[in-house]
Every structure is written in structure tokens, then in C-alpha cells.
């Protein structure tokens, strides 16, 4: 049965009964029908009608409704007859008229609402009803002409369910329907129902067959598609594929799988190899689980396992399998060679391990911190130097773990500053700072912090080196430098004493001068007192001179003692001009003796320098003595020794000691400052090296040059300390 066409004539379909419509009972005359005199049944006519219907049924299903309408008219001798069926598309909201014969024939395709019309009334009451002028209640029927004097309707069932009505109409009172009409209509209706039902069943069957055919076709297509795909998959050798049965046999296998396990097809097929043979013992339990899954669900989710290769080595694989049929015995397995991946994983794991071991074996503690200041990384060295294990440290606040209390606020501020500005004065460079150990001890560390942005947030990697040892070593170095310094001081002292040995005459002169004054004045003082009368004024003056001379003597002795004394270096502000003057008093005797003109040009404006007065005097003394010696032996008219002091540059003070003697032999120039190099018969060759080491210890430089027109000049510069030092 083809889908009924929807009513094209959408005539005034009222949703409800209008005001003033006739009540249903007023237009029904079903009771009267039964009381009317009934004509005798015409069985002959009836069977002819049934034959016609049966023929129509056999001939063409599309004719059955039309034939039914015609047989109704024949049997009831009515003016119009037809049938109404509930629409299917909208769930039965309307009746439509698929077949009409007689005077209403032109209205084929029209219809009425389900809940407001004579057909609906019939289905509602599930019985035959006879209407008289139903247009009085259902005004939408008025335009349907000619109007129906009487209309007899009977329900139309399909499989026991009312699907519509069949009806006969008298447009005039030419005759009235009677009980016989009702009976024959019912009989025809029943027959039609059966016929329709049969028809419908056949149709359904056809649809079912068609549907099944379609499904089968699709299935077939799918099956062939699947198989083709499956075959392609197998042949493409993208993955290892083999088919098997649950008994352990390998039925079919592709090249990829053979390559994977390095077997030949013959190895697998002819030798009757079982897939269980390919599985190392420790993976069998996993396989059993897989088989259990297969039996239960027909498939196995991919899992990792290993197969033996022919040579006994193993290949890591990912394997998944499915039974061809649920509950069946055969299936397919897909295997993916994971060697490469495993190798890569292994390499990555090794690399990671290596990196970890590098980090762990690093001398530096490596501590990582996230943007919230929480520790996220902590290597072995960090465990060692801070005393927290990795598991304890990770998750703690960095500042509370390794930063001493007094620096924490600074750290937090620095962090905030960094987030605001992206700058941090301590980032990406080596700084020295104090860190906190778990036991509360603070120790010096060298720290490099590297910020790293990743995924929109910052992490900070810190490399921390415990420099306690280094600090101790530095301290030791300082101590040994001090020792060296002391050794140097001792050496300097030795050299000084030797120089002083050469200066005995000068020293004697220096000391004897005031002694002479003291003794002479003592004598004169006594004489004045013994005078008759004693000359007290002169005696007093003499006594005063004695005191003066004794004071002078004491000062001289003290100065000399400093030169002889073994002192560790003492740093003080030194007036170099005064040192030069002192030195001159020491060497004056030598210059006199050798008829040398000793001159000085001292800049009175030079600032003080920082240093050891005695050692600086030693340098000047040594240079002066060298100068004297170089000119002493000459038989020259003007033997000159000149000492100058001047401000050579804003930060440096220059002292020069020049003579016009023999000068420095070119061949000696290189060795001038070398230890134990000397041109003097009595020299030990330590004077100049010691002078140079003294000057360098004061942060200065000492060097020699040629003097013009002859002789040598020794210069040394000393740094002038900044004013605030």
C-alpha cells in the first residue's frame, strides 16, 4: 500500500464544535434504523460483491479500496459510498477519503478531522452509526454536495484496530437504510478489513524483505569492504598481522609480522608454529588474560608484550586481537613493533637518567623554584649541602628552606620586582651570599639564578655552590700570603740591616752629634756653676740645650731602631717627604765623604700615602745608596745625587732617585731586579728585588731608566688613597 496522499482540499477544518451546532444525538437515527422494516438479505448479490473484492485483491492491491467502495454501493443501492482512513503521517489527526464512488466521487482526497466528525464519532463509539444531515453538526461538510440525507458508517478494522470507516450515503429519501444494510456493510467491512490486513501484511513483508535485502546488501557491501580493508591492512604491512585460532595455531601471517620476529613464512606455517611459542614465559600470564577477554567480549584491547625473534632476542610489541565471530575460535591479531619506540624511550630514559645523574653528580646544588616560590627541583648535592632530602624539600617554600631569616624579605621583594619589571639584579650572574642549612647553620654560597619562562609561568633554576671550603682556602691563602709577607718583611729587614751596616758612619754621626752637644753643654753648665759667682743664666741655658740635644738623640735612636727592628708590616699614613728627609740625614755622611752633591726637589703639596714607613724609607735609602755608590768612584767634578718627589698623576705619587754616575750596563738591565744579582763585591743582590717587592706590596711600581746625560734614575710610584679611606 502506497502512502496515502495528504488531503489537498483543506476545507474549513474546525478545531471544535461551533456555537449553535446540533447535538450529536439530534442527528443520529441508528436506533430508528433497527426499528425500520428490513429487506431480505440478498446473498447472491453479496457473494458477487465478495468475489469482486477477492478478485481485486488478487489483481491489484491498489484497487482494493476502490472495489470496496463500489461493492458497498452495489450492495446497499446508495447514492455515494466510500471509505475514510486515518492519516498515517501525522499520527492520525484526520480522516481522508482514498476512494469514493457515486455522487461524491468528485470529493476523493477530501476528509474530516479525527475528533470532530462522523467518522471520529464512529471510532469513538466503536459501532455502526446512522447520521441524518450531519452537516447540521459538522458545518465543514456543508460545501460537500450534494448533502447527505442519510449516511451509514461502520468502523474499519485492521488487525483488530480501527483505522477508519466505510460508509454509504443517500442524498435523497429515495430509500432509507435498514438493518440489512447495516449487516451487509459490517460483513463487507469485515472482509475488507481482512483483505486490507492481508494486503498490509504482504506490504509489510515486502518492506521487511526489502529492508532485509537492503541491510543484507549493506552488510554484504560492508563485509566485502571490511574484508578488502582488512586485506589491504594485512598486505600493506603497516603492522604485523596474523590470524590464529584459540588452539594456538597461527593460520596466516603477513610480511611485517615475519620481519618483526625474523621468521620465514615456512618457519611459521610448515613447522606448525604456535603463537604461544613466540611468547616469552613471563608474558604467558598476560596472554591468558587476553584470551579470557577474547572469549568474554570477542576483542582484546591493545597491550604491551614481547615476542621472541628467531635468534632468541626479544621484540617489544603492542598487540591487539579480535575473534572473527563472538564465541568463535578464530581471530586476528595486530602487532606493532615498538623496538624503535622502545629504543627511543630507552635513549630518552638514559638521557634523562644521565641528565639526572649529571644534575645529581654536579658539584652545584640545583634547586628549582616555581613562580609561587615553591621548591620544585632538588638534586643530590642540594640534599647534601642543605640537609633536606628531595622528598622533604620539594613542595616547601624556598625562602623558608634555604634563605636565612634576615634575607627573606629581600628575596620576596626581589621576586615581586622581577614579576613587575622582568628584571632582577641577582639574576643570571654569579653572586656570593649566605645560605641556611637545615640545622640552622649559615654558610657562604655562590649562587646563580636563571629564570625560565615556560607555558606562561616562570620557574627559577638556582645553581648553588657551597663555598665554605673555598672561603677557608681563601682565608688560608690570606694567611700564607701574610706569612709570605712576613717572610718578605724579614728579608726586607735583613737587607735593611745590611744597608745600615754600610751606613755605620752616617749613623754614628747622627747619634754622636747630639751626644757631643749634651756632653759639651754639661761641661759648660758645670763650669758656669763653678764660676765665682756662678753664672746661673748660662748654666740654665746649657742645661736647656742638654735636654734639647738629649731629646734629639732619643728621636734619632728611635728612628734608627725602627730601621733595625724586625717589624711586621704596619700600615699608616706616611709623609714621603719626611721619609726622604730622614733618609738624607742617614746618607749625608756618605755624600760628604765622597764629595757628592746631594740635592732634593720635594713637592711640598704631595698627599700622604698609605704604607709602612720603615719599608718605604728602606726603599729610598737603598736607591740613594746605590746612587752614591755609582758616583762615588768617579773622579768627576760634579757628582750628583738627586731625590725628587712629585704628584705624577692625580692618583699617583712619584719618587725619583737619580745620579750622574756610571749608569746601568745594558747587559745588566734584564737582571737588575733579579734576586742575587749584584755588581758589588760585598753585595748579596737582594737590595733591588726587595725594594721592588716592597713597592709592589704597596700597590706601586719600581723601575729603572737612563738618566741624561749620564747615570741612572730609579722611579717608583705609589697610589694615593682616595680621600675617604
Amino acid at each position: 500500500m502506497s502512502e496515502p496522499s495528504t488531503p489537498q482540499d483543506d476545507v474549513a477544518v474546525e478545531a471544535s464544535i461551533p456555537e449553535g451546532a446540533a447535538p450529536l444525538e439530534s442527528i443520529l437515527c441508528t436506533e430508528e434504523l433497527r426499528r425500520r422494516p428490513s429487506r431480505p438479505p440478498d446473498y447472491e448479490k453479496e457473494s458477487r460483491a465478495l468475489v469482486a473484492l477477492a478478485t481485486a485483491l488478487a489483481d491489484s492491491k491498489s484497487n482494493i479500496l476502490q472495489t470496496l467502495a463500489e461493492t458497498i454501493r452495489d450492495v446497499t443501492d446508495c447514492d455515494s459510498s466510500g471509505l475514510s482512513l486515518l492519516t498515517k503521517g501525522d499520527g492520525g489527526k484526520r480522516f481522508y477519503w482514498p476512494a469514493i464512488v457515486g455522487m461524491w466521487q468528485p470529493h476523493v482526497g477530501g476528509g474530516t478531522p479525527r475528533n470532530f466528525g462522523p467518522c471520529g464519532d464512529v471510532l469513538d463509539r466503536d459501532c455502526t452509526l446512522l447520521f441524518r444531515h450531519f452537516e447540521q453538526r459538522y458545518p465543514y461538510l456543508m460545501p460537500v454536495t450534494p448533502s447527505a440525507e442519510e449516511c451509514l458508517l461502520v468502523p474499519f478494522y485492521v488487525r483488530g484496530k480501527a483505522v477508519g470507516t466505510i460508509w454509504a450515503i443517500m442524498h435523497t429519501d429515495r430509500r432509507k437504510f435498514d438493518a440489512e444494510d447495516e449487516r451487509s456493510m459490517n460483513a463487507l467491512g469485515q472482509f475488507a478489513s481482512l483483505a486490507y490486513q492481508t494486503l498490509d501484511s504482504i506490504d509489510d513483508l515486502k518492506i521487511q524483505i526489502a529492508a532485509r535485502e537492503t541491510a543484507e546488501a549493506a552488510l554484504r557491501e560492508r563485509a566485502t569492504g571490511l574484508e578488502a580493508k582488512f586485506r589491504r591492512l594485512v598486505d600493506a604491512n603497516v603492522m604485523g598481522v596474523f590470524t590464529w585460532n584459540l588452539d594456538g595455531k597461527i593460520v596466516e601471517v603477513n610480511e611485517t609480522f615475519l620481519d618483526m620476529v625474523r621468521l620465514s613464512r615456512e618457519d611459521v606455517t610448515s613447522a606448525g608454529m604456535r603463537w604461544t611459542d613466540l611468547t616469552p614465559a613471563e608474558w604467558r600470564a598476560r596472554d591468558e588474560l587476553a584470551v579470557a577477554d577474547l572469549k568474554a567480549t570477542g576483542t582484546v584491547q591493545p597491550y604491551h608484550k614481547e615476542y621472541f625473534r628467531k635468534d632468541g632476542t626479544r621484540v617489544p610489541v603492542l598487540v591487539g586481537a579480535a575473534l572473527f565471530e563472538k564465541g568463535g575460535n578464530e581471530g586476528v591479531a595486530f602487532t606493532l613493533d615498538l623496538s624503535e619506540q622502545k629504543n627511543a624511550e630507552e635513549a630518552f630514559r638514559r638521557f634523562e637518567q644521565q641528565a639526572r645523574s649529571i644534575v645529581d653528580s654536579a658539584l652545584d646544588a640545583v634547586v628549582a623554584m616555581d613562580a609561587d616560590g615553591i621548591i620544585t627541583g632538588w638534586n643530590k648535592q642540594a640534599e647534601q649541602i642543605f640537609g633536606w632530602t628531595r622528598s622533604e624539600a620539594v613542595g616547601r617554600r624556598m625562602s623558608e628552606t634555604i634563605i636565612p631569616l634576615k634575607f627573606r624579605a629581600l628575596h620576596e621583594r626581589g621576586l615581586q620586582h622581577f614579576f613587575r619589571t622582568g628584571e632582577g639584579p641577582v639574576l643570571n650572574k654569579r653572586i656570593e651570599i649566605t645560605a641556611l642549612r637545615r640545622d640552622g647553620a649559615e654558610f657562604p654560597v655562590e649562587l646563580t639564578i636563571t629564570p625560565l619562562e615556560s607555558g606562561g609561568s616562570w620557574t627559577f633554576s638556582s645553581f648553588v655552590r657551597d663555598i665554605s671550603e673555598r672561603k677557608r682556602a681563601e682565608q688560608k691563602l690570606r694567611e700564607s700570603e701574610l706569612n709570605l709577607h712576613n717572610t718578605q718583611a724579614e728579608l726586607a729587614h735583613m737587607a735593611r740591616v745590611m744597608t745600615m751596616g754600610e751606613l755605620t758612619a752616617s749613623i754614628a754621626h747622627e747619634v754622636n752629634q747630639p751626644l757631643a752637644a749634651i756632653i759639651a753643654s754639661g761641661d759648660s753648665c758645670t763650669a758656669w756653676l763653678l764660676n765665682e759667682p756662678p753664672n746661673l743664666d748660662k748654666a740654665r741655658a746649657a742645661a736647656s740645650r742638654m735636654i734639647q740635644a738629649a731629646t734629639q738623640a732619643s728621636e734619632i735612636v728611635q728612628r734608627l731602631r725602627a730601621l733595625f727592628k724586625k717589624t711586621t708590616s704596619m700600615t699608616a699614613a706616611v709623609d714621603l717627604n719626611a721619609v726622604i728627609d730622614d733618609t738624607i740625614s742617614l746618607v749625608r755622611h756618605e755624600t760628604h765623604k765622597n764629595n757628592i752633591l746631594l740635592r732634593t726637589e720635594l713637592d711640598p703639596g704631595i698627599p700622604l700615602v698609605k704604607g709602612d714607613r720603615v719599608q718605604l724609607q728602606q726603599v729610598i735609602l737603598n736607591l740613594a745608596m746605590n746612587g752614591i755608590e755609582s758616583v762615588a768612584g768617579l773622579d768627576a767634578e760634579h757628582k750628583l745625587l738627586m731625590i725628587r718627589s712629585t704628584l705624577s698623576s692625580p692618583g699617583e705619587l712619584l719618587v725619583s732617585v737619580e745620579d750622574n754616575g756610571l749608569g746601568i750596563d745594558a747587559e745588566h738591565e734584564d737582571r737588575l731586579f733579579a734576586p742575587f744579582f749584584t755588581t758589588k763585591p760585598q753585595g748579596i743582590g737582594m737590595g733591588l728585588p726587595i725594594c721592588r717587592s716592597i713597592v709592589e706590596a704597596h700597590g706601586g711600581r719600581l723601575w729603572a731608566a737612563k738618566n741624561q746625560p749620564r747615570g741612572a734614575v730609579f722611579h717608583f710610584i705609589l697610589p694615593i688613597p682616595a680621600r675617604n679611606e
Partner: protein
């Protein structure tokens, strides 16, 4: 001290030493004049009295020894007493060769100094006397004619008139006349007087001079 008969000069650059030495001499009754340097002394106007010089060896600029040499070369014959803080042998030798009266090292003993000063002043007085005698004789010697000078030089060697005449290529009588004039001009009472005079005037130089004349 007014109108001193003699004076002591002290040259030392160290004022304390200078004053002490000066005061010591003062207390011993000497007139003293002090100088801070050799130059200062050399340029000073000194009274014409018997004097001596106490000189520090180690003076700045011109040293004590240099001053000694300079004074000698300029004809100032003043006895020198050296004072030094430290004496070495070459220094001492040079000083003594230069005619130093004494070479004292500081600190010196009072008596050593005073003795040295006494001795120096005595020497100077004597020297001054000698120097005045010699200059008189030189004045007399200057009045002689060259021939008379020649005769004098030969007479004091003890030659007879006849021998001198032979030496000079003239007559004995002429020599006799010259000899008489020499005796008068030189105020010599006897040949012995004349000989002593020529000794004082360093007769050897006269001999050399005669050689030069020829």
C-alpha cells in the same frame, strides 16, 4: 769679653753642637765666634788676632776639609781643630796632612778640646810672630839688586870672596863691595846672622831662583 787677646771660630751646621761648643769655650774664658757654614766663615771679616778654627767635617755644601784646603791655598794660616761624628782613616789622614792641630770625634772630652784650642792659639801666636819676622826679612831682601841677591846666595853657602868672584866672573874687590851692601841692607851683624835669615826665607828657593836667572 771686651778686647780679647785671641779668638776661637766655630763652624758647625748643627746649631746645638755649635752653641754647645761655643758655650764650653766661653765658660773656659775664650772669645768665640760661630758660623753655620764654611761659606759663611770664608766670607766673614775676622779680627786680626791670634785665632783658631773649630771645624765640623760634615758640613753641607763646602765640607770642613774643603774649607781647610781653601784657606791654605788662599794663604790664611789658621790652626784648625776638626770635629767629626765619625772619623775614618782617609779623612783623618787628609786632615792632618792639611795641617790640622787636632782631629776630635764627637762626643769629645772637654779637656781634649780645651787643650787643642790652647795649642792652636799658641801655634797661631807663634806663627803670627814668625810671619811678621819673615815679612821684614822679605822686605829687606826686596831692596837687594839682582847682583847683590846672587852674592847673598853664594855667601850663605860658605864660599870665600875669591871663589864667589870666580863663580860670577868678576873681581874679588867687586864681590867685597856687594857683600858689604848686602850685610847693610839685610841688617845682618855677622855672617851667622845672614845665614839664619836666609834659612828663614827658605834659601833653597833662592838657589832655585838663581838657577832660573841663569
Amino acid at each position: 769679653m771686651s778686647d780679647p787677646k785671641c779668638i776661637v771660630f766655630v763652624v758647625d751646621d748643627d746649631p746645638l753642637v755649635r752653641d754647645s761648643v761655643s758655650d764650653l769655650l766661653d765658660s773656659a774664658g775664650f772669645a768665640v765666634q760661630t758660623f753655620g757654614s764654611a761659606k759663611e766663615f770664608a766670607q766673614s771679616k775676622r779680627p786680626d788676632l791670634p785665632a783658631c778654627l773649630i771645624l765640623d767635617v760634615e758640613l753641607p755644601g763646602l765640607s770642613g776639609l774643603d774649607l781647610q784646603a781653601e784657606l791654605a791655598s788662599s794663604g790664611v794660616e789658621m790652626p784648625v781643630i776638626f770635629l767629626t761624628g765619625h772619623a775614618d782613616i782617609p779623612m783623618t789622614v787628609r786632615a792632618m796632612k792639611g795641617g790640622a792641630v787636632e782631629f776630635l770625634t764627637k762626643p769629645f772630652r772637654k779637656q781634649e778640646l780645651l787643650d787643642a784650642v790652647q795649642e792652636a792659639l799658641r801655634r797661631d801666636s807663634e806663627g803670627r810672630l814668625q810671619r811678621s819676622e819673615t815679612s821684614e826679612l822679605k822686605k829687606r831682601l826686596g831692596t837687594l839688586t839682582p847682583r847683590e841677591y846672587q852674592v847673598l846666595a853664594l855667601v850663605v853657602t860658605g864660599l870665600l870672596n875669591k871663589q864667589i868672584a870666580g863663580e860670577l866672573g868678576t873681581t874679588e874687590l867687586t864681590i867685597k863691595v856687594h857683600r858689604g851692601r848686602v850685610m847693610r841692607k839685610m841688617c845682618a851683624g855677622s855672617l851667622a846672622d845672614l845665614v839664619r835669615m836666609t834659612e828663614k826665607l827658605k834659601i833653597s828657593s833662592l838657589t832655585g831662583r838663581s838657577t832660573k836667572v841663569e
